[in-house]
Amino acid sequence: MTKKHMGQKLKNRLSNGFIYAILIVVSVIWLFPFFCLVCESFRCESSHQVGYILPRQWGFDNYINLFTKTAFLTWYKNTFIIAVFVSVIQTLMVLTMSYTLSRLRFKGRKGLMNIMLVLGMFPGFITMIVLYKILSGMGLTGANSVPGLILVYTASSAMGYYVSKGFFDTVSRSLDEAARIDGATRFQVLTKIIMPLSKPIIIYTILTAFMGPWGDFMFAKYIAHNTTSGMNVAVGLQNLISTPSSLTANYTMFCAGGVLVAVPITILFMSLQRYYVEGVTGGAVKG
């Protein structure tokens, strides 16, 4: 091996080492708060905030209290039901909308897309009061806020078509045409051709649709309106520490709730992440 090669190798190693060092620092910064949260959740010696990280006494007390002394299970169930319904409905709506806008040409298509773009620029919460009035009139607030929230989260979901339409646009139209000639209906083209080719974008849509309601606080708080049985986890947990005295009494329990909230999202991400990077479009048409 020549000197030049050795030098190149050393250079590569150094630059790799530098990159890894940066990545390690970044991940420590990211993971540190979560590490603290987990530690707090297992702390048994006191329930208020303290000036150290590692608990002096470890145990599951906070978790047990969370399930026995609060309505955490109800909040968790509410959130889960909302998130599952929303992710299914929203994904279906986004995909069908994206396919329609990507493949069909109809009067007012451009106008519709522009209207949705402009509407999307307004923050969702400006309609909060009106929505509350409507839902209240329908009896979908307070204890009934689960169906109410599903309605709110899914109502405008078709407007989130941009990313998947962009992806569908990259799938050659001649595949649609070939499938239609082979005997497929428009719906079959979507389900048998476009969707299998768009796995990454479908996973992305499902994940974002699930995470939105899973972590929402503002709408959920407003619509549940202090009714414990209608709260989602975010609202319920915030409720646990809403006053200075409850913060002192429930802080470690609040942290245990925080850990439990992160579990499903983490599982979902880990199980679906491989589809993110999977590309399957090679060889469809002459490149």
Binding site: L175, E177, A178, R180, I181, G183, T185, G283, A284, V285
Partner: protein, 372 residues
């Protein structure tokens, strides 16, 4: 078993661009018709209207006497091969070919049988478990053909299927399409911009330009009797030489005067001119490069070689006459000595001539053939 009839078919796009003008054609059962023309002539649009992929602005398309204007592609019993193959990338070759059968809920055993049969004919049996991305261009196009033939459609549509292949593979696939046609024996509509494909494959050729049909005829007809200057120049390679000349009538015979030479229009063409009593006039004269022959010195028309294209079996000489008219002359190499070959280089001056019976006479104004 299908007859395809297009009556007054027109395609106007939203931006008022007219792609196809008043297209009338009756395609017989089991006929192989080729639409040919330069890009933008409307040939693919017409094919796509037959397929149901484009709306028909005016007129009707019938398949077996049923108007299909408003039928979905899947209800027309047609299949189509695309220029870019359009294979489903997430499915194996087997599933690609089986796709139309699966949609029709054909029993599993029959699917296996039919896919195996198609793969056998096309020589792709060993690739059935591969994904399209693992195939070469030629293999992909075979899979696309397999997918189209597997359900025995009434009409087989092909949209420039060989355009993406290299020249050698194109020749091979062309021959295979001829064999395939004999095996599946159905009605074919084939679109191409390559006149060689049109001539070799078609029972009839439809030559199009700017949305209009310029001529419909058998390969012989369009080659020997082009209706107009466009067809004359489009069909045949290298393209026909065309130049201004004078048609004169002297002593009961028609002559063409060009480059100082006077050539008798004899044979059928002369007879027909007499029958039509064509008046002497300025004309556009067309002579195919292969019909020009070398003349003796001081006879015929004097030409100077500009470019010599050695094709192997023949030489294409791009020449120029004394009055700066470009003429292409095709000289078979088989009869030439090495010295003669060497002589035919740029700057070489020689004399050419052609016979009256190979001349094509076109009207200067309308560019239509003077012989009706």
């Amino acid at each position: 078993m299908a007859r395809v009839k297009l009556t007054n078919v027109k395609k106007i796009y939203d931006n008022k661009v007219v792609a196809v003008q008043d297209f009338n054609l009756d395609i017989a059962d089991k006929e192989f018709v080729v639409f040919v023309g330069p890009s933008g002539c409307g040939k693919s649009t017409t094919l796509r209207m037959v397929a149901g992929l484009e709306e028909i602005s005016e007129g009707t398309i019938e398949i077996d006497d049923v108007v299909v204007n408003d039928l979905q592609p899947k209800d027309r019993d047609i299949s189509m091969v695309f220029q870019n193959y359009a294979l489903y990338p997430h499915l194996t070759v087997f599933e690609n070919i089986a796709f139309p059968l699966r949609l029709r809920k054909v029993p599993q055993e029959e699917v296996f049988e039919k896919v195996a049969e198609a793969a056998e004919i096309l020589g792709i049996t060993e690739y059935l478990n591969r994904k399209p991305r693992a195939l070469s261009g030629g293999q992909r196009q075979r899979v696309a053909i397999g997918r189209a033939m597997v359900r025995h459609p009434k009409v087989f549509l092909m949209d420039e299927p060989l355009s993406n292949l290299d020249a050698k593979l194109r020749n091979q696939m062309r021959a295979e399409i001829i064999l395939l046609r004999k095996r599946i024996d159905t009605t074919f509509i084939y679109v191409t911009h390559d006149q060689t494909e049109a001539m070799t494959l078609g029972d009839r050729i439809v030559i199009m330009k700017d949305g209009y049909i310029m001529q419909v005829g058998t390969p012989d007809e369009v080659f020997d009797h082009p209706d107009n200057l466009f067809v004359a120049e489009f069909i045949g390679a290298p393209k026909m030489n065309t130049f201004k000349a004078d048609l004169v009538f002297e002593d009961g015979e028609y002559y063409v005067k060009a480059f100082g030479a006077k050539i008798l229009v004899d044979g059928e063409k002369g007879e027909q001119l007499k029958k039509q009593q064509t008046k002497p006039q300025e004309i556009i004269l067309g002579v195919r490069p292969e019909h020009i022959v070398l003349a003796k010195e001081n006879e015929g028309i004097k030409c100077t070689v500009r470019v010599n294209e050695m094709m192997g079996s023949e030489i294409h000489l791009h020449t120029v006459t004394d009055d700066e008219t470009n003429l292409i002359v095709r000289v078979p190499t088989i009869g030439l000595t090495q010295k003669q070959r060497n002589d035919l280089q740029a700057g070489h001056v020689f004399n050419i001539t052609f016979q009256g019976k190979v001349m094509h006479l076109f009207d200067v104004e309308t560019e239509n053939n003077l012989l009706k």
